[in-house]
């Protein structure tokens, strides 16, 4: 079992969601985040002063899956987000999960994840 943590652009979420569902990945958790990366900082203007904002709005996607779904998930995310070659398209990190429990039923392991 793996935990995929993907940092994506906020506006890509709806499409990524669709792609995931197409690949039978129905469950995930989303958090609002701010990211600093290599992307071009956004210029903001306020009361006549312009300044660079480097912490930009991101969406953080967390998907726990059984090992054989990992590549599908990566594909779903990269497919959408690669459409232009801009910087700041984000990252995917894959972490090992040791155990997973479905709270409702108490089921454990790879049964519980989906």
């Amino acid at each position: 079992m793996k935990l995929i943590i993907a940092i994506i652009q906020p506006e890509e979420l709806p499409q990524i969601k669709e792609e995931l569902i197409k690949r039978k990945i129905y469950k995930f958790t989303v958090t609002n985040a701010k990211g600093q990366g290599k992307e071009i900082p956004v210029q903001e203007v306020y009361r006549g002063l312009s300044h660079e904002v480097t912490l930009l709005n991101k969406v953080r996607l967390e998907i726990a899956l059984n090992d054989d779904f990992v590549n599908d998930a990566i594909e779903a995310i990269t497919k959408v987000a690669q459409k232009d070659g801009d910087k700041g398209r984000g990252k995917i990190f894959i972490l090992p999960i040791e155990e997973c429990i479905r709270i409702r039923s108490g089921e454990r392991g790879s049964e519980a994840i989906g």
């Binding site: 906020p10 506006e11 609002n32 203007v45």
Partner: protein, 415 residues
């Protein structure tokens, strides 16, 4: 000064005060419009909407002082009773006598100007709501400057400037047609030409794009209702007690019935009490009663308002089915209910003819549709009307203004 002259002067003073109080009330409607539009759109476009509303108010007032006022009240018409121009700028009438003799001794020249000037910007603001969240700022500013400076006052001169529709007996007390429909037609054309916001009409049907602040939307509606007492009450053009108190009653009952109309129909249709519809319902009632607020009885004003409330709900659903995307319901509120209100005068007031009312509605439709089409299409050709897809997705606040409306708050810009 003898008793009669003094008493006349007192009456003049009170009429004038009432007109200025009405002016202030119409002024605050602009905050109402701004709040409502902001509340019913997404957080990422807030700065843009506020900017539009503040600047169009300023521009509207200035152009009205340059040419609008004298286009709308030309004194003499130059071309049939269709077009006239009284000259540039506002010319201070001579001496305080000149001030007092103005308009049957009801109020001063300056009062007349400032009351009318506050109305002018309204028409543009109505458009703003329908084209929100996707129109380029500069293109919108150009469109509305021209619309407010020329289209609105010329159209207005036909009735309030004592032009041909006035001669025909067309009646529009405070502007169901002259203000609300004139704005509403441009709103319709604008929304149509621009096309819907990304994501609104997907292959899974219509996906509502929720406004980001119901408190702001409600503040907007309450302030509009509040200001409407000046909009309608001031349109009596004097403080005549019988008239303004009747107007207050019909206006209030119209609004209240509009709430009820929208509430019943939307609750019935969607099985849930829908705040956004109820808010629109009160505005629908207000727009509906505006054309005949002084000639419709209190009892009938309830009917007019209630029907307006039903209409606005049906109309919002209808335009969504047509895939004309109007984020705040401006077309339904101002155009549809503006037409309804104007026709209602022909139905509920014995002195006015339905046919004439219909001719009025139709004439304004033709004029406004044509002007709006020409204006929007020319601007589209020259400058482009719509922001880029990227900008629309990240929001116009960052795209057009490099600014956020709610710095520090965590907001999901998507979903």
């Amino acid at each position: 000064m003898d008793g009669i002259a003094k008493a006349d002067s007192a009456l003049f003073t009170i009429n004038n005060v009432w007109m200025l109080v009405s002016t202030i009330l119409v002024f605050i409607m602009h905050l109402g419009f701004a709040s409502l539009e902001v509340g019913l759109t997404r957080a990422k476009n807030t700065v843009n909407i506020l900017f539009k509303n503040v600047s169009i108010l300023a521009i509207g007032i200035l152009t009205y002082s340059i040419c609008g006022f004298n286009l709308m009240y030309p004194g003499n018409f130059a071309f049939g009773e269709y077009f006239g121009f009284g000259g540039w700028g506002i010319s201070t009438p001579e001496g305080s006598a000149g001030l007092i003799d103005y308009f049957n001794g009801q109020y001063t020249y300056f009062t007349d100007f400032i009351f009318q000037a506050m109305f002018a910007a309204t028409a543009a603001t109505i458009v703003s709501g329908a084209v929100a969240e996707r129109i380029k700022l500069s293109s919108f500013l150009i469109f509305s400057t021209i619309y407010v400076a020329f289209v609105y006052p010329i159209a207005g001169s036909w009735k309030w400037g004592e032009g041909w529709l006035d001669s025909k007996g067309f009646y529009d007390f405070a502007g169901s047609t002259l203000v609300h429909s004139v704005g509403g037609w441009a709103a319709l054309i604008g929304a149509y030409i621009l096309g819907p916001r990304i994501g609104k009409y997907g292959n899974k049907g219509i996906i509502p794009i929720m406004g980001h602040s119901m408190p702001l939307a409600s503040i907007g509606v309450f302030l509009l209702w509040f200001g409407w007492y000046g909009f309608n009450g001031g349109s009596v053009l004097s403080a005549d007690p019988g008239n303004i108190s009747l107007v207050f009653v019909t206006t209030t009952l119209g609004a209240a019935a509009g709430v009820l109309g929208a509430m019943t129909l939307s609750w019935y249709l969607s099985k849930k009490p829908d705040l956004s519809m109820v808010l629109n319902g009160s505005l629908a009632g207000l727009v509906g009663i505006t054309a005949g607020a002084d000639v419709i009885s209190p009892m009938n004003s309830v009917i007019v308002g209630y029907i307006a409330g039903l209409l606005v709900v049906a109309s919002v659903l209808f335009f969504d089915r047509l895939r004309i995307d109007d984020p705040v319901g401006a077309i339904s509120v101002h155009l549809v209910c503006g037409i309804w209100g104007t026709l209602a005068v022909g139905i509920f007031s014995a002195e006015h003819s339905f046919i004439t009312q219909f001719i009025g509605v139709f004439s304004y439709a033709v004029f406004c549709i044509i002007s709006s089409f020409i204006l929007f299409l020319s601007i589209d050709k020259l400058l482009g009307l719509r922001v880029s897809e990227d900008e629309e997705l990240t929001g116009l606040d960052l795209g057009e203004h490099d600014m956020e409306a709610y710095s520090g708050f965590q907001i999901f810009t998507v979903e």
